[in-house]
Amino acid sequence: MRFFLTLLAACALWAMPATAQQDGGPLRLEITEGVIEPMPFAVPDLVAESAQADDFASRIARVVATDLSGTGLFREIPAQAHIGRITSFDSPVEFADWRAINAQALVTGAVSLDGAGRLVVKFRIHDVFAGQELGRGQQLVGEQDGWRRIAHKVADQVYSRITGEGGYFDSRVVFVSESGPKDRRAKRLAIMDYDGANLRYLTDDSTIVLAPRFSPTGDRVLYTSYETGFPRIYLLDVADVGRRVLPTMDGTMSFAPRFSPDGRTVLYSLTQGGNTDLYTMDIASGRSTRLTSAPSIETAPSYSPDGSRIVFESDRSGSPQLYIMEARGGEARRISFGQGRYGTPVWSPRGDLVAFTKQSKGRFHIGVMRTDGSEERLLTASFLDEGPTWAPNGRVIMFTRETQGERGEARLYTVDITGRNLRQVPTDGGASDPSWGPLQE
């Protein structure tokens, strides 16, 4: 029977081309090679539906366009090149005018103020060449001083609708702001929007602070401070800047903290008697559990998105390398085998990749590899690149780049996981140790 079916299928396959050629089947083609280039798009100023909203019409459009262009996946067609004009949010779009300037995507919108003085922003996304709307129009409402967040949310929707991936524009970054000369550098925690706007300091510069880490919900921050003379882990509330030190044993040093995906547990390194191992701490009770007990240094741990595994750095093989083990501890499996030293691994929010710092042949790199150690890919190279952190959508990595010499300064950069679109994040002065928070509610 099986042989008969196979023979029948072979006969059918043999006859099919003849059918297509002779009896009128469609012409069949396979397209396997295309191009990778930024998609041209246009964002004309929003239509101001009230005089009071006129001030926001252009500013919101500019932030949306800047967000999309900054991804490297889109290229804005400037307003000077526009032929068509959007004068009403509900009027049909003359797609021919936008096709003429090769805009493949068009974002139209309107802004007004409601009775409570809040901004009301409506927008639509159009596929210009298909001559139709992508999805349905949406409306956002927010306070006037939150107009940038509204613009970021519009950009997130556009990005998500066209690419199929989640956005990352309405997110914040906590980092260490640096100022002063290299030998007397003052450091304090700061928080800002992903694009450097709305900078706010969380601590003063009276003590050294290191390695801040956002909670999964973005409302708390873990960081290491030398306030007591020894490195200790602190928990800070972003809203009221209240903080407390997490309980650890006296005479020990605790550092490199990171939240578990549910936000209830802290994973950290603790040095006692010259040996550094990994621990977890239940935040509510303050009770710690030891995960490793090797004579080597285990540090820089990071949870997988589902919280079931931990990737960390260890020199048990003689040089710092990356290892993965179960979240409750146990046998660790080495995943990095390339030449050089590996450190500061961070699990991708998608769960498929691990970002890391690599030192090889006198240069530092930010790279990614699969969680089994395969497909290692170095994305950057410089005098000093370190400390990667993932954007909420797992598509972009932010890291610290420090320049060489007495006047060397640390700055924040972003790079796409394909290695394209390397950009500096605008900050007021030096900046290091970024931690990219989640999309805001």
């Binding site: 397209i31 191009v35 990778i36 998609m39 190279a381």
Partner: protein
């Protein structure tokens, strides 16, 4: 006794005389060749040197006037020239204030920025082998240029004032003084493109090798020819039943084509199909697709007008594989944009074969486009 003829006697005597002359007259005797004899004289080395000195000495000049020596007591001749006058030295004119030295104009230069100096001494690397230079043994492959656009064919950067277009066109402008001006045409060129993404870490600082490679010794003749290992046979998936059902479904699907829409006439040649494929893939931009959409293959159907333009409303996704419905939607939208954009002016298709390309099914498979 026979009689002796007189003639015979005369003949015998004549032969005897000839033979005797030959034998005794020296007819066959050759004289020895005459040898030229030169008389040689033994000369000693001193005599030879004297002979050579005589040959090289200049000829003596006869009849040379020899001045007579002056007679004793004769007065010395008077000098016709006077005594040399000392040159008049003119003292330099003294000035009260010497003019200031002119200072050449030196263009102002910005102070050089302080160079960053590494505190650490560079580490000396010891070559592991006795080689002249540790350089690649083969020439470096040309590195792809980091261009913002990735395409199957690399494109060199165009002139800065040339508009980017899918087709390269030369500029046409009216010449000065021309009475009849031709139709003006703006110069266009395809956008700069590379064939793959090059990260900062992969970009070499200089593509040229620092030194040439020492030629390698000729390898010894192999004792026996190596035989390449036969590739392992790919595993045969147990999907016969799926293949059967797919093939039957595909074959049966053609039954649903109305007879009126069935193609007739000569089929498209392979070149004509390739031209259409290339035209579509030039506009198939997957740069803004998600990772999942880049793993999704979509089959798109489109109906074409006789002008070669696609009927936009007819473009639909028949099926997809490899991704979620949302990813398939993104992939389909990118495919639809490609068909419409590059077909805006009509694809170049043979009119006489319209029945063959009126209905087209295009399979967009992005497998090669994931990471290049």
């Amino acid at each position: 006794m026979p009689r002796v003829n007189t003639g015979q006697i005369i003949s015998g005597a004549a032969h005897a005389a000839v033979i005797g002359w030959v034998m005794l007259g020296g007819v066959f005797r050759s004289d020895p060749p005459q040898v030229e004899v030169v008389e040689a004289v033994a000369v000693s080395s001193e005599e030879y040197a004297a002979i050579m000195a005589r040959q090289s000495a200049p000829e003596a000049v006869a009849d040379v006037d020899t001045p007579e020596p002056p007679a004793e007591g004769e007065a010395a001749p008077a000098l016709s020239s006077g005594a040399d006058a000392a040159p008049e030295a003119r003292p330099p004119e003294a000035r009260d204030t010497p003019p200031p030295d002119s200072v050449p104009e030196v263009p102002a230069r910005p102070a050089p920025a302080p160079a960053d100096v590494a505190d650490e001494a560079p580490a000396l690397s010891v070559p592991a082998e006795d080689m002249a230079a540790l350089v690649p043994e083969t020439s470096l492959r040309p590195q792809p240029r980091p261009a913002p656009r990735v395409a199957p064919e690399p494109v060199a950067p165009s002139e800065p004032d040339v508009r980017v277009d899918d087709v390269a066109r030369p500029e046409v402008a009216p010449e000065d003084g021309a009475e009849v001006a031709g139709e003006e045409q703006e110069a266009t060129a395809p956008e700069e493109a590379a064939t793959e993404i090059v990260t900062e870490a992969e970009r070499p600082e200089t593509p040229a090798p620092a030194a040439s490679v020492r030629p390698r010794a000729r390898p010894a003749r192999a004792a026996e020819t190596e035989t390449a290992a036969a590739p392992a046979e790919p595993p045969v998936p147990d999907t016969d039943r799926d293949a059967v059902s797919d093939a039957l479904a595909a074959a049966l699907s053609d039954e649903s084509v109305p007879a009126a829409r069935r193609a007739s006439g000569p089929p498209l040649s392979a070149g004509e199909k390739d031209a259409l494929r290339v035209a579509v893939q030039q506009c198939w931009n997957v740069g803004s697709l998600s990772s999942e959409a880049l793993a999704t293959t979509v089959v798109v159907a489109v109906e074409m007008a006789e002008t070669g333009r696609p009927d936009t409303a007819s473009i639909r996704m028949l099926r997809h594989s490899g991704g979620s419905a949302q990813a398939a939607r993104q992939a389909f939208e990118a495919a639809r944009r490609a068909i419409i954009r590059c077909g805006a002016d009509g694809y170049e298709l043979p009119q006489e074969k319209y029945a063959q390309w009126r209905d087209i099914e295009m399979t967009f498979n992005p497998e090669k486009m994931r990471i290049k």
